[in-house]
């Protein structure tokens, strides 16, 4: 479980996050939706400790993310897996090396054990026989899947996905969505996804948070999204052409 209490962040005069409080439950897929520039990415980057918040607290199963305490932050981060918008694979390393990297850094596994785990993770994301390929040699959808495989290489408790479907065709987007859903259920992890894709919301979302102008404007389940009276949420929904 991840708990946010009154999270605030400003850049110079502009308040980007205006006191967001919420709880992301374990085993659930939590979707953060909202238009570009309204603070979704800042919120996610704050949650993983890439941006220092000005006020409030973020805690992972009662462990508070403390920016001053780098060692504690590092401990929490080792339970986190993140799929970046651009995949953020190491371009100079092969697919196998990318997935193996966290294992090499944080485990005492032998090379054979690491290779078994890499193959297990790649198989989980429906990728096989791509171990020796480099990120520049695979498609955008495959990069996302390698990114997921790398994120789950260690036994993580929290999975963050920043725009996992951006730049992907609708079919590949559904494949990625289903993968995230399967992984969340199988490993019983807390998943948080930033997305604009309303299809994702209705397909896999358990808990939906709508961010508007840096504020938590609406929160509920996917069935509540369509029936909500929230004007801004409905405008966002209508712009997505979802019936």
């Amino acid at each position: 479980m991840i708990e946010l209490i009154d999270v605030r962040k400003s850049y110079q005069e502009k308040e980007v996050l205006k006191g967001i409080s919420t709880v992301f439950e374990t085993g659930k897929i939590n979707l953060v939706i909202g238009a570009s520039g309204h603070g979704k990415s800042v919120l996610m980057r704050s949650m993983v400790g890439l941006i220092d918040i000005d006020q409030g607290s973020i805690s992972y199963d009662k462990r508070v993310l403390d920016y001053e305490n780098y060692d504690q932050t590092r401990e929490i981060r080792r339970d986190i897996g993140m799929l970046f918008q651009g995949s953020a694979l190491f371009n100079s390393a092969s697919v196998q090396d990318n997935v193996e990297f966290p294992l090499k850094m944080f485990t005492t596994m032998t090379k054979e054990e690491r290779l078994d785990r890499v193959n297990f993770c790649l198989k989980h994301v429906n990728l096989e026989n791509v171990n020796s390929k480099f990120p520049s040699e695979i498609s955008g959808g495959m990069k996302k899947r390698v990114g997921i495989a790398r994120a789950i290489a260690l036994d993580i408790k929290y999975l963050f996905c920043d725009e996992p479907n951006s730049g992907l065709d609708p079919i590949t987007s559904r494949v990625i969505d289903n993968l995230i859903k399967d992984i969340t259920e199988e490993f019983n992890i807390t998943t948080i996804i930033n997305t604009h894709d309303m299809k994702t919301v209705f397909d896999i979302g358990d808990n939906i948070i709508f961010i508007y102008n840096g504020d938590k404007w609406w929160e509920g389940t996917k069935s509540g999204v369509k029936n909500s009276n929230n004007k801004e949420l409905q405008a966002f929904l209508n712009a997505s052409y979802i019936e």
């Binding site: 932050t73 080792r78 918008q85 371009n91 944080f106």
Partner: protein, 247 residues
């Protein structure tokens, strides 16, 4: 922003590297990879500039010493001392600031804009240490070695140029070089090389690490890395000379 802001940020960046490594064996592996990249990768350019540096210095020194009152061995003395004290460490380092420095800054800068550094941080890895420390250690080990090679090849270039142009014989050159040789000069040259190696790698890592924006900014970081490394090399060259050489 002021120079103090950047200097403070540079010092904090260096401090952030010196923490407990996540896994020493991975750092050692990276250190050797960087040593190969910096050392072996720079060898061809160092060989080329060193030979020509020695050759040109010999010919030009001979051109300036027109009077027959000065023995030919003096050319060997001047070229050898200039090479050991100044040309090999400084010119080689300035060239390496261009080659190694721009490579480091663009590599780390590209990782920054591709969110690869963010990915390292999210994994709980000290990205500054992981990316910077092996490069800095490799620089302070390999650049002095490249300078020693440069000294040797510059002397060789001087001997060859003297012989081919008929200015002086190899024996005269070597006699001159040996007569003025002082071990301290070589030690001082290595102190310079060590310092310049640290400057080139740390300044370049710093500029790459704090790249913001896109491909254009990576190019800017790369240029800044070369310019600031070169300036710092020249300033520290003067300061080291003042500090160590009793005039």
């Amino acid at each position: 922003m002021s120079i103090f802001f950047y200097f403070g940020r540079y010092l904090l960046f260096l401090r952030s590297m010196f923490t407990q490594p996540e896994k020493l064996s991975v750092y050692v592996e990276r250190l050797f990879a960087e040593m190969v990249a910096i050392g072996i990768g720079s060898l061809p350019i160092v060989i080329l500039i060193s030979i020509f540096q020695g050759a040109v210095t010999t010919v030009q020194t001979a051109y300036q010493l027109v009077t027959p009152m000065i023995p030919k061995t003096t050319i060997g003395i001047i070229v050898s001392d200039s090479t050991i004290l100044e040309l090999a460490p400084t010119i080689t380092s300035l060239v390496l600031a261009g080659k190694v420095g721009s490579h480091i800054a663009s590599e780390i800068g590209t990782m920054r804009i591709n969110e690869e550094i963010d990915a390292l941080e999210v994994m709980g890895i000290n990205s500054a240490a992981f990316l910077g420390l092996p490069k800095i250690l490799a620089g302070i080990v390999m650049i002095p070695i490249l300078v020693i090679i440069s000294i040797f090849l510059s002397e060789l270039g001087g001997i060859l140029a003297g012989h081919l142009s008929g200015v002086l014989t190899a024996d005269q050159y070597i006699q001159g070089a040996r007569s003025s040789f002082q071990l301290f000069n070589l030690q001082f040259s290595l102190i310079k090389a060590f310092t310049f190696g640290f400057i080139i790698t740390s300044v370049s890592c710093f500029h790459g690490y704090f790249t913001q924006g896109g491909a254009l900014e990576v190019g800017e970081s790369s240029t800044k890395a070369v310019v600031y490394s070169s300036i710092m090399i020249l300033v520290s060259d003067y300061l080291l000379a003042q500090l160590f050489l009793k005039v």
